[in-house]
Symmetry: C2
């Protein structure tokens, strides 16, 4: 058993040796995805897609509870439609995939495979918004989008990815701004409550905001290695698109006005965040809320009379959870490694001696601690351990975030941290793009993550240029 | 109130006057979809998409109960991959949309936007199938596909549509054949139990089968006007694709074998089937199982004290159903028409006098019959009326199918029915493509729907050529 166990584990590179290789190993060995012959596109295998389905169910319920409705827009955008908003097309045109032939004929106008759908939503909004009674429109869509990529990293950087994109229209700027912040809060709650990932949230700088937006808000979880992953964004557009698409409504006072717009999205990158925030050298660790298997039952000496019957009885008692009973003829050691690799939060072991004692063993995937419990308390103990796994994941991630967040008061401190200490850097900023550019160039890639909410200024001058500081910014490298 | 009611209804063309226009009117007025500037593509509005979400939930549960797992494949297929199976590419290449430019560069190989995903699944199957222990693979995917169309009809004929495509691999031909038939049965059950649509099922002729398949099975519901709509298909591929893609497995006896394959799909055309099977001159009629709103509560004199409180109490008691309480300031008449148009199965009216009597009124969307019930029996009465609506829809559709199915014993009878009686024609067939072609040409579009299951031969000679007959075939025009 020990040998088998060791063998499975040896298949993954240690995260301390090579984090990127560890990531790729986990993604492959946990059977989350497979590569395809289509450049930049990947295949979601059943276990990987099941995680996405759970994420979808969770987020979708949060959206609908706030009154959002799902719709579906075409996957193609005619070139002329994409060009209607100037900043938007400049941002996206370079990474578009273009359909130029349809049904054996050259198209008179080429079609972009949607990289995002603001333009399509606006075209539709023009048809369905006429009066203040038609507002707000709170729409969301689940779909795949395409942004041409030179390199491929599973879940993190792929030409096609899956996401949700919310698009809303409001009578006033205030309402739209409130929606932008409300949806960022939904993402923050989702990351913390469902993915067990605490994160910094805040506003993007002008340089880093979304193409066409007035304001972009972001959630920026830190991966185990100190690198940021943009976990979700929420944009306030003002009435820019409404003007470009000539969308107006007649208000209660009979004046004609432009509505105000938002959009917000979370993608399958969130699966990358789960892997890199929680995983360890034994593989994946999945937060219970989105784990396809929350409890795996592994019977010992399952050929002995009564063992499988009891294991099945235990499974039935846990029917409110996603439970798998593995009664295959693989060794117990192989199974232990397999479900550790797959990140199942709780393992339940049960054998003849346990059954004699009306007991079983629970093992936490996070701490690997074994707990001997009476079957009388089965449901309560499983519930408690699932909660404990969630809480420990949050706690570990919060400690990692705190431990790898540094303060820099001048450029020397900044570059020293950037060179030697992977993580986030809190530093004051004068507000100029020049300082953002300089920091990025000198450090080889450190960028402003966001102007964070709820953090106090730590100095009065810009850590880059020494001029008076306007904002505290959290800086870091990113996936 | 009567005036308002009339006005709403007048917005739809009567189905007897112009069935095609009636269909378009219903689709628009019930707010199921909107057109977009993208040729052949349509927008699913919230109400239309909610129907699709309910269909997805229903079918997905049926698939998963049988052990199928969801995956997600890339949306692009390189030209060389599509060409691997000869019949398949011949069938689909003429209707492909091709991406030729990615990220501002001409691609060295053009990419087809998937019209169906057999080739992508096969490429992946080759990576994950090695041993008999890896079989069966029971996969399904929910996605959008593109087949270039010259004409657009909402839900029926669009360049992009949404669907599920199941793809399975099995150790033996018998197992794969059984899966093909099992999934057709799932579709048959789904159409009857959830969409309230009885239908003819059977096997497609050689001429009508899927490109690359050995056998295609189909479910063929009849629309109200007698025209067929292919409701779902299930294909048996044998080992043709396995050979083309070099997919093999080592069996328990250590010999290397090709696995056997199936695929099966249902699309958003099923929404077209719902509309055209059940709808009437007042609009949509939705089967309760997939209706986004199952019960609409319309309070009368809602400004009077206690009315809205009571209506809300009633709504809360019906929380196991999808219930909408419309307390907007529109007139009751407007609301009646609106929710009739939207096909809500049961309307619940409640006003001051009802409340005094501890009563309310239920109205069936099918019969428009009013039922005065005591609030003491609320839950049971609502449940009963929803069941009754379902049963009546099934009954009406079954009667329409029976009434519009004719028998033809010779060519004269056949062409006479084809010209004068919209519906299905049962007629014997010699098995030749020539007779299928002749029938199609002479009648201007009547095609073989299927060789039906469970029907007895009605003659011994082909109704077209008079030669000895091999099979009974159901013929008809189709959407």
């Amino acid at each position: 058993m020990a040998d088998n166990n060791k063998k499975m584990v040896e298949q993954i590179t240690s995260m301390d040796v090579d984090f990127a290789q560890w990531y790729t190993d986990v993604v492959k060995k946990a059977e989350l995805m497979d590569y395809s012959s289509v450049k930049g596109c990947m295949i979601f295998r059943p276990y990987g897609y099941a995680i996405w389905e759970n994420i979808q169910k969770d987020l979708d319920a949060r959206f609908k509870a706030l009154g959002h409705e799902n719709v579906y827009m075409p996957m193609f955008i005619p070139e002329s439609l994409l060009q209607r908003e100037k900043d938007h097309v400049e941002g996206f045109a370079p990474e578009c995939a273009w359909v130029t032939i349809g049904g054996e004929n050259q198209l008179s106008e080429k079609l972009c495979v949607r990289p995002t759908s603001e333009t399509l939503f606006c075209e539709h909004f023009k048809n369905v918004i006429h009066s203040y009674r038609d507002l707000p429109k709170l729409y969301n869509q689940w779909c795949s989008v395409v942004r041409w990529e030179k390199t491929t990293r599973p879940f993190l950087r792929t030409s096609e990815f899956l996401w949700q994109e919310g698009h809303t229209m409001h009578a006033t700027a205030e309402e739209a701004r409130a929606e932008t912040r409300r949806m960022l809060k939904v993402y923050e709650d989702f990351y913390l409550e469902s993915l067990a990932i605490p994160a910094i949230t805040g506003q993007k700088t002008e340089k880093e905001k979304f193409a066409g937006a007035e304001e972009t808000y972001t959630i920026e979880p830190m991966m185990h290695n100190g690198v940021a992953l943009q976990g979700g964004t929420s944009h306030y557009f003002g009435d820019g698109f409404a003007k470009a698409f000539d969308i107006t409504y007649t208000d209660a006072d009979n004046t004609v006005k432009y509505p105000h717009q938002t959009s917000w999205g979370v993608s399958t990158r969130s699966i990358g965040a789960i892997i890199m925030t929680h995983g360890d050298d034994n593989g994946l660790i999945l937060p219970p809320a989105i784990a396809p298997i929350q409890v795996v039952i592994i019977p010992a000496a399952q050929h002995k009379p009564g063992v499988l019957e009891k294991a099945t009885e235990v499974k039935d008692r846990l029917s409110k959870y996603r439970v798998k009973l593995d009664d295959s003829d693989q060794s117990a050691g192989w199974k232990f490694s397999q479900y550790e690799m797959k990140g199942v939060p709780v393992r339940l072991e049960i054998g003849p001696r346990d059954i004699e004692n009306n007991a079983c063993v629970l093992v936490s995937r996070v701490t690997r601690e074994k707990k001997f419990i009476s079957l009388d308390n089965l449901e309560a103990e499983v519930e408690a351990m699932l909660r404990q796994v969630h809480d420990e994941l949050v706690d570990r991630a919060a400690k990692n975030l705190a431990a790898k967040t540094y303060e820099a008061h001048n450029f020397e401190e900044f570059t020293d941290i950037a060179e030697h200490k992977p993580g986030y850097i809190k530093a004051m900023w004068c507000g100029s793009v020049e300082c953002e550019d300089k920091i990025k160039d000198v450090t080889g890639g450190v960028k402003s993550r966001c102007i964070p909410f709820g953090m106090e200024p730590i100095d009065t001058v810009c850590a880059c240029c020494g001029k008076p500081a306007k904002k505290l910014v959290v800086w870091g490298r990113q996936y």
